[in-house]
Subunit: 274 residues, 2 copies
């Protein structure tokens, strides 16, 4: 149950604290020393344990910190935010240096670390997960998504992208009410319930993407939805709200409906983005 | 328990069926006759009952169908899709013709009508709700949001706007995975869970809008989130996905962060849309 942690930003600090709370004393290093007990150099911290976890600013920082450090025989777990491409390149880089590699995408903000709500997408070496499961599971649940080292980052970015779309919709919705005498805290539960209910449509969308059938049992087709766009645009304008957050999706719907696909469900819009 | 229904599109038909299933036989009229039992004219259908429900194509259709019909003493419930402005104008129009007016925004697709999941936002005359509660509650739960006749349409459009943002995020998320050997139906539950969890942030956002405090207890501020944008854009591009659905929200975050508000939560973006 020994681990080295490189990087003590807010996320790294939360992870270190979760380990200490579980009785695991990590060997830590940070670019700027945070405590007298910290390792003097990244190389010294890496030398101390087989399991080395990085939680640095960005992918370039991983190169800067570790490029001249001996990684032979190490198990490198990279929790630094990265794109799938960067994670795949990092896996090759780590393997060339004699290390086993596991990439992780943290699905939590620092205050959630150590709570049941936090989880990490991992991909890469399954042996690293098996050999260090007890340590890795302390800060957040382990969700392993396969050997492709880019997939953890891909799942991470995909979920957060979905979230940012939802946040854009929420932002627009609250803006519509801002000119009225309506309490946002009274409206919020209605909005949360509605989005929670309608998010379930992602299951049907996934099924359609798998089968390629975009037209059977469509309850509200693209043509009908496109016909409703003026109501959304006109309402936004008369409420003094710029509709720009929603326009790209409306345009995508209108374009596909106009291209002879008006009887389809929205699943085909996924194809049109590519 | 008598009611007239004007408009037998898919929604009107579902509403009429829910009444019949509950033992209420509506007097119905449609622009093109659907059954020999239908009323000959809209005027005849309106004359038959005090409660008149419209479920027509759009706001213009309401004028076309009812402008020459005597509405004196009628209770007009307008379920036709409209903007808040159109609903307010319709309330004035109905009052001038001697009718009481209630506007409704249906939060359901036709197959949901008559099930517990369906509800309708109503606003306008509270007396119309009180006098016809038993009839109105059959197709969908009643959610009355006040006397301003525009508010039902506003709540309706606001919830659906939030949903469209969510759908845009979901579309982008699935597109990111489309080039990989990842089963969409395996990914969907993760995405649904994540959006469901993070939608809860709308409560905090509403509270901030009420207090005007955008800076206390911010776990992931605009500066930190704006710094992450390249990861989303680069991932989209390397996965062959056009990031246009998410760019307006990212741009809004980046602009506010650059305008000296990097320590803030995202709540201020609501103000920037206006």
């Amino acid at each position: 149950m020994a681990v080295t942690l490189l990087g003590l930003g807010t996320m790294g600090t939360a992870i270190a604290q979760s380990w200490r709370a579980a009785g695991i004393k990590p060997t830590v290093w940070n670019r700027t020393r945070k405590s007298p007990e910290d390792a003097d150099t990244a190389a010294a911290a890496v030398a101390a344990n087989q399991l080395v976890v990085t939680c640095l600013l960005d992918d370039d920082s991983v190169t800067t910190v570790l490029d001249d450090v001996d990684l032979t025989g190490k198990d490198l777990v990279n929790l630094t935010t990265s794109t799938p491409e960067q994670s795949r390149d990092r896996a090759t880089w780590a393997t060339e240096r004699g290390a086993r590699f596991l990439d992780g995408g943290i699905m939590a903000v620092p205050p959630m670390i150590g709570t049941p709500a936090a989880f990490v997408f991992y991909s890469g070496s399954p042996a690293v997960v098996d050999d260090h499961r007890d340590v890795l599971a302390v800060p957040a649940r382990i969700h392993y998504v396969g050997e492709d080292p880019g997939h953890a980052a891909l799942y991470d970015v995909a979920l957060l992208s979905g979230m940012y779309g939802m946040l854009a919709g929420v932002t627009h919705a609250f803006a519509l009410l801002r000119a009225e005498d309506i309490d946002p805290t009274t409206f919020a539960p209605l909005l949360v319930d509605w989005i929670t209910t309608t998010t379930g449509s992602a299951h049907d969308l996934a099924h359609r993407l798998t089968t390629g059938d975009y037209t059977t049992n469509v309850t509200s087709n693209l043509g009908m939805q496109a016909a409703g766009i003026p109501t959304f645009v006109d309402t936004a304008k008369s409420q003094g709200v710029d509709p720009r957050l929603l326009m790209p999706y409306f345009d995508l719907m209108a374009q596909r409906a106009a291209a002879g696909k008006s009887q389809e469900d929205t699943a085909g819009l996924v194809d049109d983005l590519r």
